[in-house]
């Protein structure tokens, strides 16, 4: 801040040396030449001393005083005192000079002042050299008062003392100075020179401008004093050189102050601080710089021990200076592992400008780590090296960076979800951001293949403005935005150079500006509006066509009008009627034109009263006209006259007053021109113009209106207002009994006419008016005169009452059918000639078109709304459904996800389905959802996610309201169900295994037990047969019991074997004719049935899928059972009934003993018998085997019985088996 940088400043400083040199040279020359010329005008010295030696130093002293008060710098105070002391004394001396002996006074006071001043400056110089800043000295103001009053007091008291001759003489004019004076002045010179040298040396160190000028000031004062020292006569050239040098010294001091002011301004510091600061040395400056710096500054020695620690560092790290000086830098405030990082950074930034910085972590006293930015440099000192680090806490910057990153991510997400193409470009046309829609819009394959700078695009695209002109690159949206333009919906036409495809884009763009408002980029969004444009184009074409037709008609009309007007002008020229009448109105002159115009000859006219002859109709009361003529002497207007043949004509009439000889009014000259034809033409033109304006306004309304009723009202209003018709209305033909024409909209003067008119479109009295006819026939119908048209009679009275003289009715035809009519009533008869009717017809056609387009629009909108409402309802339902439901676009975006879906996978935030559902970067290879797009048919599949969940998925093709094809996906997490199923299957198979093992065991056991039993039987038998001699009766009895027991056991084992054989040794299921099986079963019992006369009836039995052997066994067991438990000759009936759901029921009914129903269940259990072993044979396994067989076939068996009333066994068995060949039990 205080460094001298400008070359200009150096130049100025060099100039500053010049006066010193000149002054020195002048002294030398004058001394050698010994000039004794005297020039001392009275008071000049006083004035010049006051100005230069008192006022200027006073200013310096004033600034010095302020600086002292502010900073307490003694240097400044002493400088002020010095300037003040010398200044006051010099001025006093100057004013005393003219007194007798003034030379002595002058010299004495001046020199004493110099001595005082020199002391002060010298003291300041010494203080400056010791660089101590006395900042905390209290009571600055009193000290200042004392310090500044001291020179004042001195000057006053010394002056008085000199005037009283108390002071010994200093100077004797023409002789020279006394010894005293030489001592005083010599000392002052010495002190000034010394101070100058000290400050100059200080300047060489600090390069401070202020010190430079201050030291020059002291130097030149010293020179000036030296000149005085060697002068012999006050007022000699040498004396003036001394004085001038003194003055220059003051000026230099002022320059020093100005330098300080400038420096204070550029540095933004208070002036006082700056002045005081100049006296401070570099080290002190450095110290205060370090202390006041906002960055932490830390120095450390070669052992990385801290030797300097400023207050910002204390604030940043929480340690005080005392805690840190001597402490190691690393480990305390910087992490240990950063030592090398820092060393590398220092090595790398050697000589770099600006110095390199790195980001590392700093450690606060409370242990908290925070990011800091550090720069460091190394200084070599005698004791090794000193590393100084400047550290800055960048926590906030980091947070800001993070926030920036985050907002950028949000931006990207937003961009990617937008359907408009969006580009964000930097100031040089490079694309910083763009979205997927961008790629689509510019016909790129995907986002990655997009060109990323604007300059690439002229090779890819031709761009045209909306009016078809080629747009150079600088007219493109981005270029325009980068120039600061903003636009919304600017249209461009683009053509791909590669494919020639053309599309229209609507662009919105604008510049991006930084905080200072400079353009740093551009944002451009574009939307493909080709389709819209095409539609607009079509609409425009049809409108143009209409307008062309209207224009053609209008031009025709205009042409006619022009012709008529030309004709009228010719008439004007040829047929002006001129006549004179006197004050009474009597005609006194009648020209040929008048004859031609009116048909009256001059003879007929002359002498007649003109207003009687011509039946004049004036446009205003005659008095008004006369008054106007009397004032202006002429009058102009249109009047109506009646010709000789009774025809009324309109004439353009000019009246001029004729003055008589006496100057009094004598009569009027009237020049009339027949303008009837022109009037007619004008009227026709007016009407045509009106019709055209009506038509064009109606057309505009058609384009703008979207509501049918509004449109009809608007059109009625336009036709009534613009067209100037009395009443205009639109009626719709209703399909009710009376075929009413219901008024829908009207404008103009109605007064209840339409409600009372009760118009119909049926072919009856009220339907034969123009309106009814036009609806019935679909043709324009005119009633030229209300009064005379017989068809108009039902409404005549009402119409005349409302001033309706003629009417036209124009059918409104929508889709080839007249849906109603536009009725227009005029207040004059014959208002609707061919041309007007034609134009109105066109108007009605346009209106019909408008209605039909609004209706079809409405229909479309309604159906669209219905679809969207339906969709919304659908999605509302989806939202709450428990399965996960989502809607996916073809490019993997999730357009909709219901609550379940979101709960499972979270929000999509614009990410693609595979990205946020499964965290993948490309579509899932296992995904089958997109087959729906190919086939267009629903697809059901099962998905096992990477996490092992099983998801049941249904994908349906889904067409959105806008026609885009999407996939509606329903996902049900069936992981739990699948697990349960798997567990169940495992359990079942375990159970089946256990069961099979048990059955196998029973079979093997029964089988193997038979062997030893057979031996027991055989050998017992042998013992009984062969060893009869060795056995006594008892022994034989015992052996008999063994035989019996063995035999029973054999039966039991046999039955058990049979029982287990059912499951263990069954045959595969085949088709079995049950009737045949039953018959085979009865064969076994043939012998016994013949014997006891029992009867077995076999009815109709079905063919089923079963194990034939077992079916035979089933019937055998049941028949055997029935035969066994009977007292009467047994009668067994076997028949079947068709049961439910693929089952049949087989009944085996007997007339046996029966049993109590409560045993119906027990009898099917193995080894259960209802009778004692002695009564009936058997182990009680027969029915158990039956049940087992039936159950193996998936059926049931139950018994119904009553004691004594026989039993019925009911077998319910399936007709078909699930597994035919590979029976699991085999």
């Amino acid at each position: 801040m205080r460094a001298v940088s400008a070359g200009k400043s150096r130049y100025t400083k060099a100039i500053g040396l010049l006066p010193v040199v000149v002054s020195f040279a002048a002294i030398a020359v004058l001394y050698i030449r010994g000039e004794s010329f005297l020039w001392e005008p009275q008071y000049l010295v006083g004035i010049s001393d006051t100005v230069f030696a008192a006022i200027v130093p006073a200013i310096v002293a004033f600034f010095a005083a302020r600086a002292y008060l502010k900073t307490g710098s003694l240097n400044v105070l002493l400088m002020g005192c010095g300037m003040l002391g010398l200044g006051l004394c010099t001025a006093t001396a100057g004013w005393l000079r003219p007194l007798p002996g003034g030379a002595d006074y002058d010299v004495a006071i001046y020199n004493a002042g110099a001595l005082v001043g020199s002391f002060c400056h010298f003291a300041s110089a010494m203080l400056g050299a010791s660089s101590r800043r006395q900042q905390y000295r209290p009571a600055r103001r009193p000290i200042l008062m004392i310090a500044y009053s001291a020179p004042l007091l001195f000057a006053v008291s010394f002056s008085l003392a000199t005037l009283d001759h108390v002071v010994p003489p200093f100077f004797i004019q023409d002789v020279g100075p006394t010894a005293l004076r030489q001592v005083v002045l010599g000392l002052a010179i010495f002190l000034y020179a010394s101070s100058a040298l000290i400050f100059m040396s200080s300047f060489l160190r600090t390069k401070s401008d202020f010190i430079y000028w201050y030291s020059l000031c002291l130097a030149i004062i010293a020179l000036g004093l030296f000149a005085s020292y060697i002068e012999r006569i006050v007022g000699s050239p040498m004396g003036w050189v001394g004085r001038c040098s003194n003055y220059l010294g003051s000026i230099f001091a002022l320059i020093a102050i100005l330098v300080a002011v400038k420096s204070a301004k550029s540095g933004g510091l208070p002036l006082e601080e700056v002045i005081a600061g100049f006296f401070e040395d570099a080290e002190a400056n450095y110290q205060s710089l370090v202390e006041t710096a906002s960055d932490a500054i830390i120095s450390c020695d070669h052992d990385n021990r801290i030797i300097l620690w400023n207050s910002a560092a204390g604030k940043m790290f929480g340690y005080s200076k005392a805690q840190t000086i001597g402490a190691p830098l690393f480990g305390m405030i910087l992490p240990l592992n950063h030592e090398n990082t820092l060393a590398e950074m220092i090595a790398a930034s050697w000589g770099a400008n600006p110095p390199k910085t790195i980001e590392i972590a700093g450690k606060h006293q409370n242990g908290h780590l925070f990011p800091i930015e550090i720069s460091a440099f190394v200084r070599r000192v005698p004791s090794g090296q000193v590393t100084t680090c400047i550290l800055r806490d960048i926590t906030e910057r980091k947070i800001a960076d993070e926030a920036l990153k985050e907002s950028r991510a949000t931006l990207q997400a937003a961009l990617s979800s937008m359907t408009d193409a969006v580009i964000i470009s930097d100031a040089r046309g490079r694309f910083i951001e763009f979205n997927d829609a961008f790629a689509t819009y510019y016909r790129f394959k995907d986002k990655d293949s997009c060109a990323r700078t604007l300059s690439c695009y002229p090779d890819i695209l031709d761009v045209f403005t909306a009016d078809g002109l080629r747009a150079p690159l600088d007219q493109w949206a981005i270029s325009r935005a980068l120039r600061g333009e903003r636009a919304a919906n600017a249209e461009y036409i683009l053509r791909s150079k590669e494919t020639g495809e053309t599309w229209v884009g609507s662009y919105s763009f604008g510049p991006i500006r930084d905080a200072r408002g400079a353009i740093v980029g551009a944002v451009v969004s574009a939307r493909d509006i080709t389709e819209n444009k095409q539609m607009e184009e079509q609409l425009r074409r049809s409108r143009d066509e209409l307008e062309t037709r209207v224009r053609e008609r209008t031009e025709e009309l205009l042409k006619t009008t022009r012709e008529l007007r030309e004709k009228a002008e010719i008439i004007d020229f040829a047929h002006d009627a001129v006549f004179l009448r006197d004050m009474d109105g009597k005609i006194t002159f009648w020209n040929k034109g008048a004859f031609e115009t009116y048909g009256f000859t001059a003879e007929e006219a002359l002498g007649r009263l003109s207003h009687e002859l011509l039946a004049t109709e004036l446009p205003a009361p005659v008095e008004t006209i006369v008054a106007a003529i009397l004032e202006k002497y002429e009058w102009e207007g249109e009047i109506v006259h009646t010709k000789a043949d009774g025809q009324r004509i309109v004439v353009d009439s000019r009246w001029a007053m004729q003055a008589g000889k006496d100057g009094q009014p004598a009569g009027f000259l009237e020049i009339n021109r027949d303008i009837t034809a022109r009037k007619v033409a004008e009227e026709e033109f007016r009407k045509a113009d009106r019709a055209f304006r009506t038509l064009s306004e109606v057309n505009q309304a058609l384009v703008r209106q979207t509501d049918e009723l509004e449109l009809l009202r608007k059109v009625c209003a336009i036709v009534a207002d613009v067209g100037g018709y009395r009443l205009v209305w639109v009626g719709f033909a209703r399909d009710d009994e009376q075929k009413t024409v219901e008024p829908i909209a009207s404008a103009g003067y109605d007064a209840g006419y339409l409600t009372r008119a009760r118009i119909s479109w049926a072919d009856n009295e009220r339907g034969r008016g123009p309106c009814g006819v036009s609806i019935r026939t679909g043709k324009t119908t005119v009633s030229q005169n209300t009064e005379s048209n017989p068809d108009f009679s039902p409404w005549r009275f009402e119409a005349i009452e409302r001033g309706i003289a003629s009417s036209i009715s124009l059918p409104l035809i929508v889709d080839g059918k007249a849906i109603g009519a536009l009725g227009i009533y005029a207040s004059e008869p014959d208002a609707f000639d061919q041309a007007e009717a034609g134009l109105l017809g066109m108007l009605a056609e346009n209106l019909s078109y408008g209605i039909s387009s609004i209706r079809s629009d409405q229909k479309r909108r309604k159906s669209e709304e219905a679809v969207s409402a339906e969709r919304k309802r659908l999605f509302d339902v989806f939202e709450t459904l428990p399965p996960m439901i989502s809607l996916m676009t073809q490019d993997h975006h999730v357009a909709f996800a219901n609550r379940s879906f979101r709960q499972r996978f979270g929000e999509s935030n614009g990410r693609l389905c595979y990205q946020y559902c499964f965290g993948r970067s490309e579509p899932c290879d296992f995904c089958q959802a997109y087959t729906v797009l190919r086939t267009g048919r629903p697809h059901h599949w099962e998905l096992t996610t990477p996490e092992g969940e099983v998801i049941d998925r249904y994908d349906f093709p889904f067409t959105d309201v806008d026609g885009s094809l999407m996939i509606l996906e329903m996902s049900i997490d069936i992981t739990d169900r699948r697990r349960a199923e798997a567990r169940l299957a495992a359990t079942v198979s375990r159970l089946e295994l256990a069961n099979r093992e048990l059955e196998d065991f029973a079979f093997v056991a029964a089988h193997d037990l038979q062997e030893p039993l057979r031996k027991i039987q055989t050998f017992t038998d042998m013992a009984l047969k062969r060893c009869t001699s060795a056995l006594d009766d008892t022994g034989r009895q015992y052996l008999d019991r063994v035989v019996n027991s063995a035999s029973r056991m054999r039966q039991l084992l046999h039955d058990l074997l049979e029982f287990s054989r059912v499951a263990a040794k069954g045959d595969p299921f085949r088709r079995v004719d049950l009737a045949e099986a039953a018959r085979e079963a009865t064969d076994v019992f043939e012998a016994s049935t013949k014997q006891n006369g029992s009867l077995i009836e076999i009815g109709d039995l079905p063919e089923i899928e079963a194990d034939r052997t077992q079916m035979v066994q089933l019937f055998q067991n049941l028949i055997g059972n029935a035969l066994k438990y009977s007292e009467l000759p047994p009668h067994i009936k076997i028949h079947s009934e068709t049961g439910q759901e693929g089952f049949c029921e087989i009944f085996v009914q007997d007339n046996g003993l029966g049993f109590e129903q409560k045993y119906a269940e027990r009898i099917f259990k193995p080894f259960q018998r209802l009778h004692g072993r002695g009564e009936y044979q058997g182990a009680g396994m027969g029915l158990a085997v039956c049940r087992k067989i039936v159950e193996r076939h998936g059926g049931t068996i139950r018994a119904r019985s009553e004691p004594g009333a026989g039993s019925t066994f009911i077998i319910r068995i399936p007709l078909k088996q699930a597994k035919l060949e590979n029976d699991i039990d085999v």
Binding site: Q1010, R1014, T1018, F1019, K1065
Partner: protein
């Protein structure tokens, strides 16, 4: 005994020693004029037959074969014998405890001449043996 040595032999293969005793007894009782030998398993049966064939001794006129035996069972032995051109002609009666249709089908399919289930009483044993005589002895 000399008569019995006129080289007509019946060979029974059964691991059940009681059944062998019963069979031998019953055979004796039935009055058939042939020698009755038994072996304990299929292996022994086969070696005996091969031995006979090698030594040009007379082969047994009838083999009573049990199906369930250790080492080589009756099924294997049956198939082996019936497929051996030198032994295939030997009549084989299956004498076993099994009544399984499966076993019957197998044995008859493999070429056994008769399938008999071991009787429960000694009388039946004798009756059975007697029934064999007219056919093969």
């Amino acid at each position: 005994m000399t008569l019995m040595c006129d080289s007509k032999t019946v060979l029974m293969a059964d691991d059940d020693s009681e059944d062998c005793i019963l069979a031998a007894e019953a055979f004796r009782e039935s009055g058939a004029g042939a020698e009755f030998f038994f072996v304990e398993n299929g292996l022994q049966l086969m070696s005996r037959l091969h031995e006979c064939a090698c030594n040009r001794e007379r082969l047994p006129v009838l083999i009573l074969l049990d199906l369930n035996m250790p080492q080589k069972d009756g099924r294997e032995a049956l198939v082996e014998i019936k497929t051996d051109p030198a032994l295939g002609h030997l009549p084989i009666v299956i004498l076993t405890t099994s009544r399984e249709k499966k076993d019957i089908d197998f044995a008859m399919g493999a070429g056994a001449q008769m399938f008999l289930t071991k009787p429960d009483t000694f009388d039946e044993w004798v009756e059975m043996m007697k029934s064999l005589i007219p056919r093969w002895l």
